[in-house]
Amino acid sequence: MEKRLYLYPVWIRLWHLLNAVLVIILIFTGISMQYASAEISFSLIRFDQAVAWHNVAAIILVFNYVIFVLGNIFTGNSRHYKVKKENFWSRLFTQLKFYAFGMFRGEEHPFPITYKQKFNPLQKISYVLVMYVGMPVVIITGFGLLFPEILVQQFFGVSGLLITDVLHITMGFIITIFLVIHIYTCTLGDKPGTLFKSMVSGYHEEHE
C-alpha cells in the first residue's frame, strides 16, 4: 500500500529551491575565493566574479532566510523543529543505528514519517543546528566581511577581521558537509529519486 502525505507546501518548496541554488553558488564562489590562485588556470571561478556572485547570492539568501523564519512562525511549520528533550540521545542513537545497520537488515524505520512527525530526530537536530545556529553565524560574519569597517579592529590582540573570517569559513565548511550528507540521505527513500520528487510535488510517498 502506498502512503502519500502532503508535507511540503508551496512556500517551503520555493524557499528550499532558492536556498539550495544560493547555497551552492555560495559554496563554489566561497571556495574560489578561499583557494584563489594567481594562476588563472587554478581558479574555479575568477576572483572578482566570485566576489560579486558571492555578495549578491548572500544578500538574497538573507532575505530568503527571513522568509524561512517568518514562514515557520506564521504557518506553524516550526513545530517540526522542536527537539524533544526526553530520551534525546537514545532517540538520536536509534536513528543512527538504523542508518548504519537497521536499513541493511530490512528493519522498520524507527521514526516513520507522519503529518505530526515530518523529520526523524537526526534530521531535526541537524536542521535546527544548521538553520538556527549555522545560518545566523554565517550571515552575521558575512555581514561583517561585507562591511569590514563595522568590525572590532582587534580582539585580544587578534585581528577582528581574521576571527570573523575564520568563523565564516568554518561555518561555511560545516554547512557544506551538512549539504553533502543532506543530499545523500535524500537518496534513502523508496527509490534514490523519491525524496527529491517530494520536494517538487510536495507529497511524501512511500510503500508501507
Binding site: 594567481a38 587578534v158 581574521l162 545523500y184
Partner: protein, 329 residues
C-alpha cells in the same frame, strides 16, 4: 562535553593566540639604541634657526634698513620648511648647511648659491657601505626605467622631500598611518591638479572614478599603498621604484588575494623578511595588520577540513557499497 569544550578552547588558543609575539620589528636590529628625534636633540638647531626664521615661517620679513621699509612677504612653498616635520624626518639631525652652501648664511642670498645644483639621494647614499643594504644605486636604476623618469622636472625630491620625508613602513606598528603617509605622497600630484599640471600636459586624473572597478574601494585605499599595484616588484629591492604606466598597473585581484600574494613582496616585505616564523597561517605576517581574503589560510584548519571532507565522502561510499550489496541480495 566539558572535554570537548576544553579541547576546542585549546585549539583556538593555539591557532589564534600564539601569534601575539609576531608584531613588526619597531627598531632596526642593527641599531643598539634608538635616538629620539626632535629639535631638542639636534645639536645644530640654533644654527638652523638662522635659516628657519624665514624659511620656517609662511611669511618672512623683508627690510630695507637704509630706507626704513619693512614688509611681510609670503614664503614660496618650494622654499618653506615646516619645522616640526623637518625635526621628525629622516634628516632631522642635519644642519641646513650640511646640504646647502654656507653662502646662504649671507643675506640677500648670493645668486651663485641660489644657482647651486641641489644634491640628489645618491650623492650621499650611493656607493656607501653604510647604506649598501638599501641599494640606492639599484633604486636609481629602477627610477630611470620608471614612468616618472620621463618627466624632465621630476626628481627623487618630488616624492621624498628631504625636509620632511620619514620612512615609516619599516619602523611602524601602525600600518594604516604608514600607508596613508605613503599614498599622500602620490596624491600630492595625482589628486591635486595644480601640482600635476606643473609636471605634465595630461588630463586631470579622477582617482575615485578611475578605481571604481575596485570592490570595497575605501578598504583598499586604506589597506594598501598605491605602489602595490602601480610598480613592478623587484626581487632585491625593499621598495619597488619602477612606477609603471597606467595600463600596466595590476588589475588582477589574485595578484594579492592568493597564497602567493604580491603583498608579501611589497607592503609586508620588511615584516616577511624579519619574521619567518610559521604560526599556522599562510602569509601570517599580514595578520597583525590586516586580513586579505585568499591570502590567508590556516594550515591546521585546512588539513582538518580535507580530513573531515574525505572522511565524510568515504563514509558515504561505504554506505552506498552496503546498499548495493543489500539490493543485490
Amino acid at each position: 562535553m566539558k572535554i570537548a569544550i576544553a579541547l576546542f578552547t585549546t585549539i583556538i588558543s593555539v591557532i589564534f593566540l600564539t601569534d601575539n609575539n609576531m608584531g613588526p620589528v619597531l627598531q632596526d636590529p642593527e641599531e643598539d639604541f634608538q635616538v629620539v628625534k626632535g629639535i631638542e636633540n639636534n645639536i645644530f638647531a640654533e644654527d638652523n634657526e638662522k635659516c628657519l626664521v624665514c624659511h620656517g615661517e609662511p611669511y618672512f620679513e623683508l627690510s630695507d634698513t637704509a630706507a626704513g621699509v619693512v614688509q611681510n612677504r609670503l614664503m614660496c612653498d618650494d622654499y618653506f620648511v615646516e619645522r616640526d616635520e623637518f625635526y621628525q624626518s629622516n634628516h632631522w639631525s642635519f644642519a641646513c648647511t650640511d646640504c646647502h652652501s654656507y653662502d646662504f648664511e649671507l643675506f640677500p642670498h648670493p645668486v651663485s648659491a641660489r644657482l647651486e645644483e641641489p644634491y640628489n639621494c645618491n650623492d650621499c647614499h650611493g656607493y656607501d657601505e653604510q647604506y649598501a643594504h638599501f641599494q640606492f644605486e639599484k633604486i636609481q636604476e629602477e627610477y630611470q626605467e620608471s614612468i616618472h623618469a620621463e618627466i624632465e622636472e621630476f626628481s627623487c625630491w618630488k616624492c621624498h622631500d628631504p625636509h620632511s620625508y620619514e620612512v615609516l613602513i619599516r619602523n611602524t606598528d601602525d600600518f594604516e598611518e604608514a600607508i596613508l603617509q605613503n599614498n599622500n605622497i602620490c596624491l600630492e600630484c595625482h589628486s591635486n591638479f595644480s601640482n600635476f599640471q606643473l609636471l605634465t600636459d595630461r588630463e586631470e586624473i579622477e582617482i575615485v572614478q578611475s578605481h571604481d572597478w575596485l570592490p570595497n574601494q575605501e578598504a583598499h585605499f586604506k589597506s594598501v599603498r598605491c605602489l602595490e599595484c602601480h610598480t613592478e616588484i623587484n626581487d632585491t629591492l625593499m621598495v619597488a621604484h619602477k612606477v609603471l604606466p597606467m595600463d600596466k598597473a595590476v588589475k588582477r585581484c589574485t595578484e594579492c588575494h592568493s597564497a602567493d600574494s604580491r603583498l608579501m613582496a611589497s607592503l609586508y616585505r620588511y615584516q616577511s623578511k624579519e619574521l619567518r616564523g610559521d604560526v599556522g597561517f599562510i602569509n601570517a605576517v599580514i595578520l597583525n595588520q590586516s586580513f586579505v581574503v585568499g591570502a590567508h589560510r590556516n594550515v591546521i584548519l585546512n588539513y582538518l577540513s580535507y580530513i573531515i571532507f574525505a572522511g565524510v565522502i568515504l563514509l558515504l561510499f561505504v554506505h552506498i557499497f552496503f546498499r548495493i550489496l543489500k539490493s543485490k541480495s
